[in-house]
Amino acid sequence: MPDNELKLPLLDQLEEGPWPSFVKDLKEQAARRPQVGQLLEQLEQSYENRWDYWRGTAINVPGYGGGIIARYSDLGEKFPQVAQFHTIRVIESPGFVYSADALRQLCDISEEYGAGIMQLHGMTGDILLLGYDNEKMMDACEALMDNGWDLGGSGNGMRTIPCCIGPARCEMACYDTLMLTKYLTDKYIGYLHRPEFPYKFKFKLSGCGNDCANSVSRSDMPVIGTWRDDIQVDQEAVTRFVKEMGQEWVIGNVTSRCPTRCIHLNGDQIEIDNRNCVRCMHCINVMHLALAPGKDRGATLLIGGKRTVRSGDMVASVLVPFQKLDSDGAYRAFSGIVERIWDFWGEHGNEHERVGEFIDRVGLGTFLDGVGLEPDPQMVANPRSNPFIKFEEYAAPRLDGEPHKAANVLNREPDREEDYEGEQP
């Protein structure tokens, strides 16, 4: 179906303007792959009616429990080429680094079996290959795997892990984000491919508090680089910087922006009360020629981030203030924590309950006990303001059954199942 046969009055308007147009690109591709033309036609109809025409189902590659996002068109009769139009999620290369050849291979597979269109990358970090029907999807997966690629995550399992570029090209990196991404992905690939958690579980890895991987707000377990010795200061570079920018500018833009006011300009020298530094990165960001993270590096582990549905947005909170990540032993220690979390949440979490929601329900204190971590004041912005403490000498932690009904319960499944049973005719 050649381009000029497509009637896309609304989408055509998205060809205009300086920003690269996906419509234009897809139209060109439509000349080669008829699915893409029908995709655009269906999209045109969505634009016209402000309505969506996709239905979802679970389709799995045998032996896998995720990685395919199946789509059937409600307009399958009208647009048979998109009656089945599935997406294959493919695990990205850590740090999103590629060789041109590797990407060309994806192009080939994508054109051989699918619509020859892809998204680099999905919000979680996967490479998304679009436009496969039930049959070709299998073949495409086969081809991908033969070439060393692997399916990404979906459903109630570990998800594909993205990371910032870290040590590969950033002077701020406090641990090797790429290596840890690969380590976690490979080690837990079974949890990714055969989902069996209460719900999805996302890691995101950032080399420092700048959080270029957006981990705190979009992952269940953010891993954020930090250091535990003193900020490295090159006082000569400080002097040069102060000379260039002026003292007032440095005070106004560096020291007075420190959240704990622990950094001071003394003439043309920087003084830092490192005991009170919260590793916020600001001074280092601004004066990166003169300041650098300390040398004893590792990461802060956080827990429980997610976005909006049901709970409202939740930002992850500190779980392990400092974790070394520079040796096999350190990796094992980290994995141990991860596995204890999965065990505990896996056993007691409700269906569809993200780990952050689980913590909301059972309480962070109970969670710490369950995963075997010591409470630390760094976990909280503030200790509690109410005296409603459930001392354990008496009552068991609120994990199953009854306690679901407590005031801080988010998901009240047991309640409602009772209701449901009770009111059946």
Binding site: L14, G17, P18, W19, F22, D25, E28, L43, S46, Y47, D52, G56, V61, G63, Y64, I69, R71, I91, E92, S93, P94, F96, V97, Y98, S99, A100, A102, L103, R104, C107, I117, M118, Q119, L120, N134, E135, M138, M145, D150, I161, P162, R169, I189, G190, G209, N210, D211, N214, S217, P259, C280, M281, V309, S311, D313, H352, N411, R416, D419, E423
Partner: protein
């Protein structure tokens, strides 16, 4: 399913990124000392070893056809020793070791791909977005189209670095919000409870859909001799969780759904730390193909931010300093009772002090 060759789990895991690193990255891995902006879209990283690596960042629409991606690869072969990378905001980064290669590379990107170079530092960064009508089964609006429209509008802002600090924008196409928590976001807003399709609703899904509602608004019911559910409309707060679970609870409505603009989100732990996006304005028409009202609203925010923020202040930090009263005054958005939180932590969003700006 009629797959010919059932796949055994192969569990390949993640690609070995080591094979894909630019040679200069490989040599200087973990040894980078500092970076410097050269011009919008171009920066250099300098290593301990003295080596430099120049990065040219090209804005990409994320969706790429195979032919287009092949052209990208050709440029990487020609200039970048066959290596390239993507950023966490879907940009493409081409890297060269010699400063003199930068301009020819940029020219080639413009000529062959027609991608702009920019999106670094204090610019309007590339917008991250979700599937929309192109592929998801849940959207109330499109994503790629909203983004294309906005990026056209703020093209100059992408290719220049004229803001007080980086501006990150995201969009999402349903209240699940696969999109990011950012300085500015364009998200979908429902205006009424789901409509129930008592015919297609699936008996086996009932307990699940009942249990997913965070405010217990869904109850078992019998209609027309079938097991189904009812939604207690006074309780429902239009969150759409049920719709994500079961398509028979249709929360979307082409006639009444609108778009909302959110401001002040931040992931970085810089300075005050991460912050949530907050409702700036709601009720913008879901107006394809160009969503002009959304563009206007975003521009209002950007203008006020540009005029009022101090250096290094992200959007949320700027608002924190001037106060929401002044934010609403300067953008001209109306503050309504719907801006006041009514969900679980509502009270913690109130002004519990005598602090007022009069």
């Amino acid at each position: 399913m009629n797959a010919k060759k059932p796949l055994a789990p192969r569990d390949n895991g993640a690609p070995d990124y080591k094979n894909y690193l630019h040679p200069a990255m490989e040599r200087n891995y973990g040894r980078w000392k500092y970076h410097r902006g050269i011009r919008p879209g171009v920066f250099v990283h300098v290593s301990d070893s003295g080596e430099s690596l120049y990065t040219v960042r090209a804005g990409s629409p994320r969706m790429l056809s195979a032919p287009l991606l092949r052209r990208v690869c050709d440029i990487a072969d020609k200039f970048c020793q066959g290596r390239l990378r993507f950023t966490s905001r879907n940009n493409i980064e081409f890297q060269v070791e010699k400063e003199e290669d930068i301009q020819p590379l940029i020219d080639e990107i413009g000529r062959v791909l027609r991608f702009p170079v920019g999106g670094t530092g204090r610019s309007f960064h590339n917008i991250i977005h979700t599937q929309g009508w192109l592929h998801c089964n849940l959207p109330g609006t499109d994503a790629a189209g909203v983004v294309k429209s906005l990026m056209d509008l703020f093209y100059e802002e992408f290719t220049h670095e004229n803001f007080p600090q980086r501006v990150k924008v995201s969009t999402s196409c349903c209240t699940i919000n696969c999109g990011g928590q950012t300085d500015i976001a364009v998200n979908l807003q429902h205006h009424h409870p789901p409509a129930i399709d008592h015919v297609t609703i699936n008996r086996c899904e009932l307990p699940k859909v009942i249990s997913i509602c965070p405010v217990l608004a869904i109850r078992p019911d019998r209609t027309g001799g079938r097991d189904t559910v009812e939604v207690v409309e006074e309780k429902c707060m239009y969150c759409g969780a049920c719709h994500a679970q079961c398509p028979a609870l249709e929360i979307r409505d082409g006639d009444t759904d609108t778009l909302s603009i959110w401001v002040g989100g931040k992931s970085a732990s810089t300075r005050g730390g991460p912050s949530f996006m907050r409702l700036a304005t709601w009720g913008l028409p879901n107006n394809p193909p160009r969503w002009p009202e959304v563009g206007d609203a975003v521009r209002r925010i950007l203008k006020a931010y540009q005029a009022g923020a101090n250096e290094y202040e992200r959007v949320g930090e700027w608002i924190g300093r001037i106060g929401w009263k002044n934010f609403f005054a300067e953008t001209g958005f109306e503050f309504t009772k719907y801006h006041i939180d009514s969900y679980r932590w509502a009270r913690t969003t109130f002004n519990t002090s005598a602090h007022v700006r009069l």
